[in-house]
Amino acid sequence: MRIEVLPIVLGALPASVWAVDYVSASEAEALMFPQADEFATVNLRLDNAQLQEIGKRAGLPARSAQWGVRVARRASSPLGYVVVDNVIGKFELITYAVAVGTDGAIRQIEILSYRESHGGEVRLPAWRKQFVGKTSASPMHVGDDIANISGATLSCTHVTDGVRRIVAVLQVAHESGALP
């Protein structure tokens, strides 16, 4: 194990946003339905009664009357659906995709991108001193990779709520005949 606190030049990181992109929406749908040979978009327009039903099933408001659903097919028969959605937390914006089979069961959830805004203050903490004599002699080089964050555990509650809502949307749309 090698570890070193990096001396960051003050002001080098202004108030900024961490952004990590994992996979694109089209990569995600291909990963989640690898056997599909076709994806087509169906734009759902939900009426008030459907929105109420979704709210009841999901246990949280339907939020939007319009949803874009990608229908995965193989040899023209539907395999399931992919919906891309955003959830906003206290500091973060998460874009994710959920794949649901035609049986209504969740197949997979993929995070597409994660953005987090934070204050810009960067300081060299007192505990840098604790490293003296403990780290490697040669300076470590980290290159331009995107930093991973270790800190207060990020909760995925917003994502799981969002997934529950999408499952209800797909159920209601399927029952109404709006989805194959």
């Binding site: 194990m1 090698r2 570890i3 070193e4 606190v5 990096l6 960051i8 990181l13 961490w18 990590v20 992109d21 994992y22 996979v23 990569e27 291909a30 990963l31 690898p34 998460i94 994710y96 997979q108 959830i109 993929e110 995070i111 994660y114 934070h118 204050g119 810009g120 203050e121 960067v122 300081r123 060299l124 903490p125 505990w127 840098r128 604790q130 403990k134 470590m140 080089h141 980290v142 290159g143 990779d145 995107i146 930093a147 991973n148 964050i149 270790s150 800190g151 207060a152 555990t153 990020l154 909760s155 995925c156 509650t157 994502v159 799981t160």
Partner: protein
């Protein structure tokens, strides 16, 4: 084919688990590798979740005292490690959170334990263990360099340093660290939180400690150790606790 960092992330263990590997080709090419690593995380999630009614932890907690609880061998691994850490820390690390003074369980064999009493919560170690298991799965798939991050409990493997940002609770201050072949876990404890909140620190006596208002970061060779040692440092208030030295760890208190 050129090699580059390929990233994937999925929600597991109540957080987002992100995996980065140095791989040839694109996301589709690396899909089987990621599938094996995420399957390892899912297995830990299914076995050790406190919320799921069918997890080993839930079945242990609802079993009567003296009952044999059949568990996933990985759960037994974690309970075995937890037992060692409890002894080494003179009870500071305690997955029973003080609910069973004389030990909550006794390990019978690789896939069963006897419940002695109390309740267990593997929240302080399972995430780190899941990271270690995902790293093993990636290495078994031939990945030479990568990083697994379960909502801040992370481990890097292979040659070359990774930039890690440690976020601190009280201010917006961040600290950047370079890490090569090792794990980092950070726990924040804020005063005034209820004992049921994630941030609350549970003392071996079972009552939440409210006075602590700190961020604890521990680096260790394995993520399960880093994860567990944050609790030892938090409860002892000692960033130079002898256990750290024994287990190859380093800690910082903020």
């Amino acid at each position: 084919m050129s090699r580059s960092l390929v990233r994937r992330a999925q929600p597991w263990l109540g957080t987002i688990v992100a995996i980065e590997v140095m791989a040839e080709g694109d996301a589709a090419h690396a899909a089987p590798t990621f599938a094996r690593a995420f399957a390892a995380v899912e297995r830990v999630h299914e076995a050790m979740s406190l919320q799921s009614a069918t997890s080993d932890v839930a079945r242990f907690n609802t079993a009567r005292n003296g009952a044999v609880v059949v568990c996933d061998p990985w759960t037994v691994n974690v309970l075995s490690l937890a037992h060692c850490l409890q002894r080494a820390s003179a009870g500071l690390f305690d997955v029973a959170l003080g609910t069973s003074r004389n030990g909550a369980y006794r390990i019978v064999d690789a896939c069963s334990v006897v419940k002695l009493g109390g309740r267990i919560d593997l929240g302080g170690i399972a995430k780190g263990y899941a990271v270690d298991r995902a790293v093993l799965a990636l290495r078994a798939s031939g990945v030479e360099r990568g990083l697994v991050n379960a909502g801040g409990d992370l481990r890097a493997f292979g040659p070359g340093a990774w930039p890690i940002v440690v976020r601190t609770g009280q201010t917006d201050a961040v600290v950047q660290i370079a890490l090569e072949r090792g794990a980092i876990a950070t726990s924040q404890y804020r005063s005034g939180r209820s004992p049921h909140h994630d941030d609350a620190l549970i003392s071996p006596a079972g009552s939440a400690v409210h006075a602590i208002d700190r961020t604890i970061t521990v680096a260790a060779p394995r993520c399960a150790l880093a994860d567990a040692l944050t609790k030892v440092v938090a409860l002892s208030g000692n960033a130079r606790h002898p256990m750290l030295h024994e287990m190859g760890g380093l800690a910082w208190l903020q």
